[in-house]
């Protein structure tokens, strides 16, 4: 079991977080978060930026969109301005919430890859394009995309000898467009058969 990462109360990060981990935010994060595990914005925690995780639970403040691969849960103590996108979305009575809810149904694209070109995940249109009339609601939320390249560059800089080579990031593994197509070479097979007979 991996140890859960924590931005503790009293600590502020202006920047972004990404990785294959669970994360609890009890302090403040001004920037996007993308983790493959569970993300919990604790009561007292504040995030300004889009967040994406397997499950997103909000007990504190979120100004930005929440993408949950499995679920997004907004608890009673939460204050949230942004869009919620997940196959399962729960909003507790008492939560302060302004924004749209998108429930993925079967057949819709899975939230599996972040597309920096669209500044969004999985090829779903960016929220601002999707609902231009309500763009004002999201005006203050940053639209900073995750920068995949610098993160990879940082990993490469770390010495390899002491740690196993990092597994391909989720987006690389999940993105079928990155895999080269391999076609069987028919001509070569034929040639071999001729030579044998």
């Amino acid at each position: 079991m991996k140890k859960t990462s924590v931005i503790p109360a009293g600590v502020t990060l202006v920047g972004d977080i990404e990785g294959d981990a669970d994360l609890v935010v009890a302090g403040k994060v001004d920037g996007p978060i993308h983790v493959s595990g569970a993300l919990l914005i604790e009561a007292g925690g504040q995030v300004r930026g889009h967040v994406r995780a397997r499950t997103v639970t909000v007990r504190g403040v979120l100004k930005g969109d929440a993408y949950g691969e499995l679920a997004v849960r907004v608890e009673e103590s939460a204050r949230l301005v942004g869009e919620l996108t997940a196959p399962r979305v729960q909003v507790a009575v008492g939560a302060r919430f302004r924004g749209q809810v998108h429930m993925n149904e079967v057949g819709e694209p899975r939230l599996s890859a972040y597309d920096p070109a669209l500044h969004t995940f999985s090829g779903l249109p960016a929220p601002s394009r999707q609902a231009p009339a309500e763009a004002g609601v999201f005006e203050e939320a940053p639209r900073t995309p995750f920068e995949a390249r610098p993160a990879e560059a940082m990993r490469e800089e770390a010495p390899r000898a002491e740690e196993p080579t990092p597994a391909p990031t989720r987006s690389e593994a999940a993105d079928p467009r990155r895999r080269p197509l391999r076609m069987p070479s028919v001509g070569r097979v034929r040639g071999r058969r001729r030579g044998g007979s």
Partner: protein, 113 residues
């Protein structure tokens, strides 16, 4: 349930960029690039890779830290590597640790006769 006293921790799987400030303690086992300004303690764990100027109360380096450090106490532990200048009244370099940089400390020397 997390409470206010839970220590800060950035796991080895995380890549964090930006500016961190605040009063809590923080342990970094992942990759961090940016700026660290803590009133609490910073520990760069054995798997931690930090590239940032650091201001903190106490700093312990078990992994790699690249950047100038200002603290009340700096300790580079075995296997740790600190590349940068250090300004601290207490500096420790353990056997097997590496410190590449200048240590700045106010040193009072006795008058030479």
């Amino acid at each position: 349930m997390t409470d206010a006293n839970i220590p800060g921790y950035l796991g080895a799987e995380l890549v964090v960029r930006g500016r961190v400030s605040g009063e809590g303690d923080l342990t970094i086992e992942g990759s961090f690039e940016g700026e660290l300004n803590l009133q609490g303690d910073l520990r760069v764990g054995g798997r931690g890779r930090v590239r940032a100027p650091v201001i903190a109360r106490r700093v312990a380096v078990e992994g790699r830290l690249e950047g100038d450090v200002e603290a009340a106490e700096v300790i580079v532990r075995e296997g740790g590597r600190l590349v940068g200048d250090v300004r601290a009244p207490r500096v420790g370099l353990e056997d097997g640790g590496a410190l590449l940089g200048t240590v700045e400390m106010d040193v009072e020397l006795p008058e030479f006769e």
